[in-house]
């Protein structure tokens, strides 16, 4: 389990927690997010732009 961060607005996707509002349940791996995933907060950074921060 890891945390990924949007380099633009610093939204964090924590695989352990998922993102309930976006419909990603806990333990959803970042790799398993849709390929067209864009940052839920700023909308202008794509999946490949996200930086892996650390293991959570």
């Amino acid at each position: 389990m890891a945390i990924y961060e949007c380099p633009g607005c610093h939204y964090r996707y924590d695989e352990e927690q998922g993102d309930e509002h976006e419909g990603y349940p806990p333990s959803t791996l970042f790799d398993n997010l849709p390929e067209d995933f864009t940052c839920p907060d700023c909308g202008v950074r794509y999946k490949e732009d996200f930086k892996r921060l650390s293991d959570s």
Partner: protein, 400 residues
């Protein structure tokens, strides 16, 4: 007046004082302005007084932008975090939310209790709509923020103009697809504002609704579930507007119809002028390049910016969509409109005049430099535009 300071390891002491700190109150009180027209009518008995707010927006503000000029104040990037943390600025946006409800209800009361001629009714409904359109601007500022309270307030204020899908479609759709032919909220060169409105208004709704449908389906829920943010906002609209019809009678139906359409058209007007003709290039992967500062038109005028929460510093907004209005910065060499938004709306409403003012400005931008393949062109006008500006027919590869 608050001064923000920072001891920078390389640059030394950096400080910034926001000279517009108290001018931002204008954005809060702008929605009250239509009430002045009503007060003037009650005082004089002349229906002409009801035109004062529209005259102010569409004639006086463009003159003020022209006379007062552009805004050279820019917060240093290093102090943006301090500005963002200053709660004063966000409280102003909170206060604006109830103002929009109060103003609409007050104008509805006026219309429902006074015997107005049809032109006076129309002017009053358009006035109400233009100020509720500012509610979309307030929602725009708050809907981009990360905290739940601001996102909720955005949904609530969108109920006033009955445009509850805006934040969804704008944040996830417009910001992703901006300055591409696929974006219904980016206008094309040669496309009149009226043609654009017929593409933008339904296109934006469809996009927002589909995005919410996909999000809810991931949760295993129906698109009609109460968790649908769009349904929530429109439910408030229904209570508000049906309540007004119940309270003030059937006259509310034409009044609210004109009010709603004109409020939506205010957003259409802003969208129309913000990205006209601008086009992002495609990378080798087939994906559009990231939105660059030259993919937005800016209007760095003091007056219209202080009543629009800095919306006109649009390039920085697209680069940093979650950045708060007080922190938005202006940069040199950006696409710049020759007047503020209200002045440009008036020009846009006369399509031949708009083309005359803007088409040459699009082509003169340094990254375009007359190259029509770098312009977002209305497909129906492609041949005509190439004949006029490109010295011949549109190349097949570009026209395809």
């Amino acid at each position: 007046m608050t001064t923000y300071t920072l001891q920078h390891p390389e640059k030394g002491l950096i400080s910034y004082t926001d000279k517009k700190r108290y001018l931002w109150l204008s954005s809060v009180f702008m929605p009250i302005f239509p009430m002045l027209g009503i007060l003037a009518y009650l005082g004089t008995g002349s229906e002409w007084a009801l035109g004062i707010p529209l005259f102010f927006s569409y004639v006086i503000i463009p003159f003020l932008d022209w006379g007062i000029g552009s805004d050279e104040n820019n917060p240093p990037e290093e102090l943006v975090p301090q500005l963002e943390e200053d709660r004063y600025y966000r409280v102003l946006t909170y206060i604006t939310v109830p103002m929009h409800f109060i103003v609409l209800i007050a104008i509805a009361w006026f219309v429902g209790t006074h015997d107005l001629s049809v032109p006076a009714l129309l002017a009053t409904a358009i006035t109400a709509g233009s100020y509720s359109g500012l509610g979309i601007n307030t929602a725009h500022e708050m809907g981009h923020k990360k905290n739940r309270l601001e996102r909720w307030l955005a949904k609530i204020v969108l109920a006033v103009p009955a445009y509850g899908h805006f934040c969804i479609e704008h944040n996830r759709g417009h910001h992703t697809e901006v300055a591409t032919p696929e974006d219904p909220a980016s206008s094309r060169m040669g496309e009149s504002i009226y043609k654009f409105a017929l593409r933008e208004i339904p296109g934006a709704f469809r996009r927002g609704w589909n995005q919410e449908k996909v999000r809810l389906e991931r949760q295993g829920l129906s698109v009609w579930h109460w968790k649908n943010d769009i349904v929530q906002s429109f439910a408030i609209s229904a209570v508000l507007q049906l309540g007004l019809i119940y309270a003030f009678g059937w006259i509310m139906i034409p009044f609210l119809a004109v009010h709603n359409v004109w409020a939506w058209f205010q957003l259409t007007s802003a969208n129309y002028i913000e990205h006209y003709g601008l086009l992002r290039g495609k990378e080798e992967s087939g994906r559009y390049e990231r939105c660059q500062p030259h993919h937005s038109w800016n209007a760095n005028y003091i007056f219209s910016n202080i009543v629009l929460f800095h919306l006109e510093r649009h390039s920085d907004h697209h680069a940093n969509p979650t950045r708060r209005y007080q922190s938005l910065r202006n940069f040199d060499n950006l696409p710049e409109l020759p007047n503020g938004y209200y002045g440009m709306y008036m020009i846009a409403y006369v399509p031949w005049l708009w083309y005359r003012v803007m088409d040459k400005r699009v082509l003169a931008l340094p990254h375009i430099n007359g190259d029509l393949s770098k312009v977002n062109i209305d497909p129906d006008k492609r041949d005509e535009i190439y004949a006029r500006f490109g010295g011949g027919q549109a190349p097949t590869a570009v026209a395809a």
